[in-house]
């Protein structure tokens, strides 16, 4: 009986160890978010207009071999995942920084698990910069 009680206490300790310092359910949620959700990778670009910038973000994702999954013009958010092999998803939010500048924020996940590695976001920014560049003028 004593052994069972000790085992129960140890089990409870092991369980609580994973939730150490949990002041409230909200604190636990906040800490989980900080641990699991990397900050978006953000970069500013010169763009003729917010609408054009959002359309070109879609083009840049397609240029990288991504299939669109969802878009929200009010929030300026576009989600797309790789066409092939890997369930890698980029969620891009394009917003106005000022009259001539937009800000693009990229969050990456792989099968729903956040990815902190900035390489996919950097690849998107390269494709996006190319899409935003005006074609060279012909004399």
């Amino acid at each position: 009986m004593t052994g069972r009680r000790t085992a129960g206490a140890l089990a409870l300790t092991a369980l609580l160890a994973t939730h150490a310092h949990a002041e409230s359910p909200f604190a636990t949620l906040s800490r989980g978010r900080a641990a699991n959700a990397p900050l978006p990778v953000t970069r500013d670009f010169a763009a003729p207009s917010l609408e054009v910038a959002r359309r070109l973000a879609i083009s840049a994702l397609q240029d990288l071999g991504f299939a669109l999954e969802a878009a929200n013009s009010e929030a300026g958010t576009i989600s797309a995942s790789r066409l092939d092999a890997h369930p890698l998803r980029l969620t891009v939010t394009v917003g106005a920084r000022d009259e001539a500048t937009i800000s693009a924020a990229v969050v990456t996940d792989h099968a729903g698990t956040p990815v902190a590695d900035p390489r996919p976001a950097e690849a998107f920014f390269s494709a996006y910069a190319a899409a935003l560049s005006p074609p060279p003028e012909i004399d």
Partner: protein, 159 residues
């Protein structure tokens, strides 16, 4: 006895404490698609009426049994899918398309579409994804969109 009592809690603790496995390096290596592939996915139409092009796409997808997964007409985006079942496994064909104004004065509309096949197990977990690469699938889709647009006197531009 002690171990048996501790086991559920230890499993729970390990489950809560372990992070998901990182994605394989090749999953994070992204490169632009080829110009040929891009051309296969893209058509230009001699109209600035983007909504007419989107409506033609919806008509074609609906006729082939696709239903809407997501859409945002303001951004010219439609995502449609249709499910097929093989035993307990489930596969899905997904069409993702976007339109945007094109041409020097925005008098044309560009349509870009991709198709992909997704396979799931009985629990709905994704098992496989692959791009549809057969040129005939894209050519067939665009031919049907062009037929729809012809009803509205809209012509396809140069490919």
């Amino acid at each position: 006895m002690l171990l048996r009592s501790l086991l559920p809690a230890l499993i729970t603790a390990l489950g809560l404490g372990c992070a998901a496995a990182p994605p394989p390096p090749e999953a994070l290596a992204l490169a632009p698609i080829s110009p040929e592939e891009r051309a296969r996915h893209t058509r230009l139409y001699e109209t600035d009426d983007e909504s007419a092009v989107l409506a033609a796409c919806v008509a074609v997808l609906t006729a082939h049994g696709f239903s809407a997964e997501a859409q945002d007409y303001a951004l010219g985006v439609i995502v449609g899918a249709k499910d097929t079942h093989a035993g307990r496994a489930r596969s899905r064909l997904r069409a993702s398309l976007a339109t945007r104004p094109a041409g020097e004065f925005g008098l044309q509309t560009q349509l870009r579409v991709t198709f992909q096949r997704l396979a799931y197990n009985a629990r709905g977990r994704e098992l496989r994804r692959e791009a549809v690469r057969e040129p005939g699938e894209y050519a067939g889709f665009f031919a049907e969109v062009e037929r729809e647009l012809a009803l509205a006197n809209i012509q396809a531009g140069p490919k």
